[in-house]
Amino acid sequence: MNMADVLIPFRFYGVDSIFYIISALIGFFVSYYAYKLYDVTGKKSHFYFYLSFILLSMGLLTVGLSSAYTYINFFEHGRPSGQDTIIDTVAFVDDFGYWIYYIISLAAYAMLAFSYMPDKARKLVPIMIPFWYTGFPYFNILSFFLLSYTIFRSILNYASRKNLNSLLVMAAFSLIGLYHLLLFFTSFSKVVYVAAHLSLILGFLSLLTMLTRLKK
């Protein structure tokens, strides 16, 4: 996905970059707690969980910074008008940022699902790998597919615990899933792009709220 493929409202230029960067910072905060969990238990699944949030945060930070760079250059140099070198460089940085984000976040979502799986089921995961390689044009659908298992598990967790923290996590994963689902339809309307990014930031803010509720 880049600026040419999707409909982005002009006033939203750069706001999406800020949303990505804020989401990344919250993601790093989650991974800090996930590392503490791994440090206490030493369980492999907790290590995968920690790694998934580190990767996701790195992906979001990469796309946030690369898209911010694109917007800054866009506002500085305007629309393409013969300054091919600058436009090419900016387009390269933007595309590169998104590709890094695609690869890292798919790995992160797969690892997240992996960390939730029962030990025996983990052996089945390599079956999904060939699907990855053909799936890049449909990155958002693939991300939603990978995230759906985590969403399902978070719903089950909320159903059994019925507390605010598990509700916030369920809401967070569902909103991040919705973000990917909506992004698949951004070529139809500008509003969808805004709604998708609001869904993303609300998802991560939901995680932040949960973290701030943990006993000091």
Binding site: Y33, A34, K36, L37, V40, T41, G42, K43, S45, H46, F49, S115, Y116, R153, S154, L156, N157, S160, R161, N163, N165, S166, L168, V169, M210, L211, L214, K215
Partner: protein, 92 residues
């Protein structure tokens, strides 16, 4: 249930039990409260002592176990981690 998990939970259960007794408990109180055999309790208490989470003191001819600062910090950390994992639905 995985062995490491149960060990961790037993550690925390023992520490919480001592904490409920105002941070100081006799071995017999721990034995009844922790629902462990004498042999297993001795093993876990030795590990808690080795890790510096508890300390053995003698007072009035009686032996007590008290929670150290490190033990309180471990309990505090475990509580946060437990809440975090509960929220995500991943077992500790």
């Amino acid at each position: 249930m995985n062995a490491r998990r149960s060990k961790l939970h037993i550690f925390v259960d023992i520490l919480r039990l001592i904490n409920r007794k105002n941070g100081r408990a006799k071995p017999t109180h721990i034995l009844y409260g922790a629902n462990l055999s004498h042999i297993r309790l001795k093993k876990y208490l030795a590990q808690l002592l080795d890790n510096g989470f508890i300390q053995q003191v003698s007072e009035g001819g009686h032996s007590y176990y008290i929670i150290t600062q490190k033990g309180y910090e471990f309990m505090h950390e475990f509580k946060k981690v437990e809440q975090f994992s509960d929220a995500f639905g991943i077992s500790v």
